[in-house]
Symmetry: C2
Subunit: 265 residues, 2 copies
Amino acid sequence: MAPATKSYPVIKIKGGKRSDERDTVVDEGQLTIFLNGQKVVTLSCTPKEEKYLALGYLFSEGIVKGREEIKRVLSYPQREEVRVFTKREVKLSGDFLQTAVLTSGCGKGKSFKSLEKINPLEDILLNFDFSLTPSEILSLMREFDSKSTLFKRTGGVHGAALADRERILLFAEDIGRHNAVDKVLGKALMKKIILKDKLILSSGRISSDLLVKVWRAGLSLICSRSAPTGKALDLAKNLGVTVVGFVRGSRMNVYTYPARIATSE
Amino acid sequence: MAPATKSYPVIKIKGGKRSDERDTVVDEGQLTIFLNGQKVVTLSCTPKEEKYLALGYLFSEGIVKGREEIKRVLSYPQREEVRVFTKREVKLSGDFLQTAVLTSGCGKGKSFKSLEKINPLEDILLNFDFSLTPSEILSLMREFDSKSTLFKRTGGVHGAALADRERILLFAEDIGRHNAVDKVLGKALMKKIILKDKLILSSGRISSDLLVKVWRAGLSLICSRSAPTGKALDLAKNLGVTVVGFVRGSRMNVYTYPARIATSE
């Protein structure tokens, strides 16, 4: 794959004045993920950390259940391919491609109709031991901003991070907001980081598919600088996930399960 | 389909103060597009103007060539389906789904490898008769902002517009930036608006797939508030499209074919 940025000539116009300059733009690559020799999906993405993207995708889409299933991960940058092999056979649902939904966001396709039918709250033990304060969230978001170097250079990417209450542990950027989350989750998987007492930070909109990715990975708290969708909030209620949106400056909106946000500072 | 927004209870935290309020969030629906009875794609989208979305998608993906091919468009909101029928048989490329790429942006899947092989500049007559000035662009972007009512209410959508030099002719909003462009193109198709002397305005990142959509529709100028990707600029050079990015306040960046931007005001 190509490097993550390119230099381009540009004519900058400002207040009627024109100047010839060079600009750094974010690059776009493709990645095809294979599982045990079978093609799973092709993603448009930022050509960086492809192994983590592949693993995180398989993990957050529920295809691979955990680190212990992974036998080998081979990356072929020239061919824009990552090939993942599992210890035992992992069945790709026969209608995986048939039911794929091209999403509004960052191109991860899945229909969640089956998820809406079940009631996970009956099945899972909600983890409310993990909570943090608004000022901890604001502090993490400031650290998040300081790490967004590719965004600062190009203005064309999304960021995602895994954090505990004190600091950001993992960070990734990608032209796709789903990809950024998948890269972080893939890295967490490889590093065997326990996820249930962590949160996800994102720069992008919280849509239903992103919400489900985070939930599938075992996380129960997501904070974003952007807006959630109504469908994502419906699912968050059903799945027991705390959604905090519009984390900007000194403010934020807590949409679901505020018990995880300690507001009595 | 559900209405485009929902009201949600929210705890707003600002400067350490907490208040219980209600918030308007953008909703998320799905739309499955059928062509002559055959399923083409399922998109996550904002449930509004589904007919235009379906037509614009088929048009901008090169499946339907023009208004004259369309026989009938039937919308089934309850089933989240639009069924398009053409006068003659339109062949869906056998590998339409096989080669689908889940994009970084708003979920329109197509591999453009075939496009990169051809050299459209040899095949098409570039239209440089249409040009406009930076202040015309800035004025259009201000009008664009004033029309973005769903964004103002929810902060969770992208906008797209078709404009001539003087004013915005068509406008649409959607959780997906591709969908917003497709809705505008679908409406233009139905209204038989000539596109070659128009431009597209977008709030979102200009990725390669968005660039190709606009080019396929016959447009040669796209302006966005956001960044372009390197791959989109490579394609724009090859396809003869003028890309203007970061249109904000009094400034903008002209990346390709500046001949269409008259800077000698």
